[in-house]
């Protein structure tokens, strides 16, 4: 009985354990690893795409996926820079609105027309990419506004703004998921959509809201990324959907829906960030880094599957 509890604890916290192990090994190797500068470095790398991870967690709990987040991010960034000629805030707000509009479109198509989210968001992904290329003429566009780059490059108490936004959002959306009526509905709909309908939950509203949230997050990420680099291009965001989905799943959020949390997904993203950073410090070949990331994802899945099977037999 007691050993089971220990096992359960390890199973529940395996990502945290992997993170602690990596940190321990690297701290022995170099003290730089746990220095303030390096921690900020790691968080900065993951913060912008990490914001999208929050929205994607809600969607995956609802058994949906959004492949269009990368191109939404790219297009929001393009709008934020392209519309600067009408004022910085016009650009920012249109970037954010665009994200919400894409999310609403995805949500509407998936829920009202009862379409598969993978296929719908694949369609919007390709389409938005087209818009990005149309607006940028397939080139990189540079920002002209002087205060726009300051948004992502300012630090408060030595912490850059994207990190603050990321951490605050993780906390807020974890609380919304765990403590509010809406969050409980998200779990209910993800767990059993028919039963939820039966209990009078506005299923379609919940699902559309999650898509809008994800789109909004992609919009914020796009604006922050554009501000950080002061450029926008269709090449940004190509790997984002795969990275974001990997982070959520790595955190142990199940694709079968109804379970998971923002804090778990945050751990997944943190693991990716720490791994990347560790491999850079250890001077691992870039290409082997990809292989290690993929292997870890598959390994964690297999461990998950084996432990679930064992639980069944006990």
């Amino acid at each position: 009985m007691r050993s089971n509890k220990v096992l359960d604890f390890f199973n529940e916290q395996k990502i945290l354990i992997v993170i602690i192990l990596i940190v321990a090994v690297l701290t022995i190797k170099t003290t730089y690893f746990i220095s303030f500068a390096n921690i900020i470095n790691i968080l900065m790398l993951i913060s912008i795409e990490g914001i999208i991870v929050i929205g994607m967690t809600y969607l995956i709990i609802l058994k949906e996926l959004d492949l269009s987040v990368g191109s939404t991010m790219a297009l929001s960034g393009v709008l934020a820079i392209y519309l600067q000629k009408y004022g910085m805030f016009v650009g920012i707000i249109s970037g954010l609105l665009l994200g919400m509009a894409v999310g609403f479109l995805n949500g509407f198509l998936v829920t009202k027309l009862k379409l598969t989210s993978i296929a719908v968001t694949l369609g919007t992904m390709v389409m938005l990419n087209g818009f990005v290329f149309a607006l940028t003429n397939s080139a990189t566009i540079k920002g002209t506004n002087k205060s726009f780059p300051l948004i992502a490059n300012t630090t408060v108490l030595k912490i850059p703004i994207p990190i603050i936004v990321f951490i605050v959002f993780v906390i807020i959306f974890e609380i919304i998921l765990k403590r509010t009526y809406f969050g409980k509905n998200v779990y209910a709909v993800g767990g059993n959509i028919i039963a939820s309908k039966f209990f009078g939950i506005k299923v379609e509203m919940v699902r559309i809201a999650a898509f809008v949230l994800t789109g909004f997050m992609a919009g914020i990420a796009g604006v922050l990324l554009a501000s950080k680099l002061n450029i926008a291009s269709g090449r940004l965001g190509l790997n984002t959907p795969i990275l974001v989905i990997t982070a959520v799943l790595l955190g142990g959020v199940s694709l079968s829906g109804g379970e998971g949390s923002v804090s778990k997904a945050f751990q997944g993203m943190l693991l990716i960030g720490i791994l990347n950073n560790a491999m850079v410090i250890l001077q691992t070949n870039d290409f082997i880094q990809d292989m290690i990331r993929g292997s870890i994802l598959i390994l964690i899945l297999i461990i998950d599957a084996v432990s679930i099977n064992r639980a069944k037999y006990i």
Partner: protein, 315 residues
């Protein structure tokens, strides 16, 4: 009798659209009706169609293979590297073996541990693309001239390149596999209802793994064909390929939910996509708007598919 012809027409929506489109384009665009243009379309769709045919089998079995793009890159660079270092035989066989190993891994991990194929193949995507880049240290490989290897793309039979025949043969073989063998019937059942398939005693692990292996095998064939045509291969050649393949399948009307579909529909979908892209290129529509059109097409295709299905269910 009348019902039968109506349902036949309903099932052939894509073919009807394709025929109308070709007629309109032939009348409207002079450069479209040239024989060389039809050959261009055939060449353009051959490579992607082979991969789509393999992927169709995986999708019918209720899975999805996101690692096709990276497998494509790996097979393409392997083929050129083997050609430069060894000989033509290895240039064809080694990529195929590598792809089959990837397929076996994908299939066994997903079916034995009962995991979602989307995540497993997502992990495999990173592993394989990392390996492809590592294998050639990120550099594009240029093949030494080799007449036998180039022949795959250069030899013409009745003015049509050899590799277009390979595509047609593969499509026919897969359709026969799907319709006439116990593998195909098992695959459809697994895609429709895995629990029932298990009760009947179908070996789910074997059949699913086989579908992944066939998919990866098709990828390697397509990659070797492309390497032979271009005589160069970049380790990033297949980036995003998985999305193009899924696009062709979705436009072909194959349900991503599994259990439904056939190779014929996929091929029609791929041709339809190829003709539309070709027409847009001929009329000088910018690349950006081609992407927008493609996205709209995907959404339109799945919307129409669901409409057709729900009205069918009402009857």
């Amino acid at each position: 009798m009348k019902n039968k012809s109506i349902s036949f027409l309903k099932n052939q929506t894509n073919l009807i659209i394709l025929i109308f489109l070709v007629i309109i384009l032939t009348l409207a665009i002079p450069s479209f009706r040239q024989v060389s243009n039809f050959l261009n379309i055939l060449k353009a769709i051959s490579v992607i169609s082979i991969v789509s045919c393999g992927m169709t089998l995986v999708v019918i079995g209720g899975g999805l293979d996101l690692s096709v793009g990276s497998t494509f890159s790996l097979a393409a660079v392997m083929s050129i590297v083997m050609l430069n270092r060894h000989n033509v035989v290895l240039a064809i066989i080694v990529p195929i073996i590598a792809a089959i190993i990837i397929g076996i891994l994908n299939g066994i991990i997903t079916s034995y541990f009962n995991l979602s194929s989307i995540i497993v193949t997502l992990g495999m995507l990173s592993v394989v693309s990392g390996f492809a880049l590592f294998y050639v240290n990120g550099g594009t490989q240029v093949g030494n001239p080799n007449k036998i290897f180039e022949a795959i793309a250069k030899i013409n039979l009745f003015k049509i390149p050899l590799y277009c025949y390979i595509f047609i043969i593969i499509a026919i073989v897969y359709e026969v596999l799907l319709k006439k063998t116990s593998f195909g019937r098992g695959l459809v059942l697994i895609g429709t209802n895995p629990e029932a398939a298990k009760i009947i005693g179908i070996n789910i692990t074997l059949i699913r793994t086989l579908s992944f292996v066939i998919c990866s095998f098709s990828v390697s064939i397509a990659a070797v064909m492309l390497s032979s045509r271009l005589m160069t291969a970049a380790p990033t050649a297949g980036v995003g390929y998985e999305f193009d393949v899924i696009t062709a399948i979705v436009i072909g009307g194959i349900s991503l939910g599994g259990g439904k579909g056939n190779i014929y529909n996929t091929v029609i979908g791929a041709i339809l996509l190829g003709v539309i892209i070709n027409a847009l290129t001929l009329t000088n529509v910018p690349f950006a708007f081609q992407a927008i059109t493609k996205g709209l097409l995907i959404i339109l295709a799945i919307t129409l598919d669901v409409r057709a299905r729900s009205s069918f269910e009402k009857q």
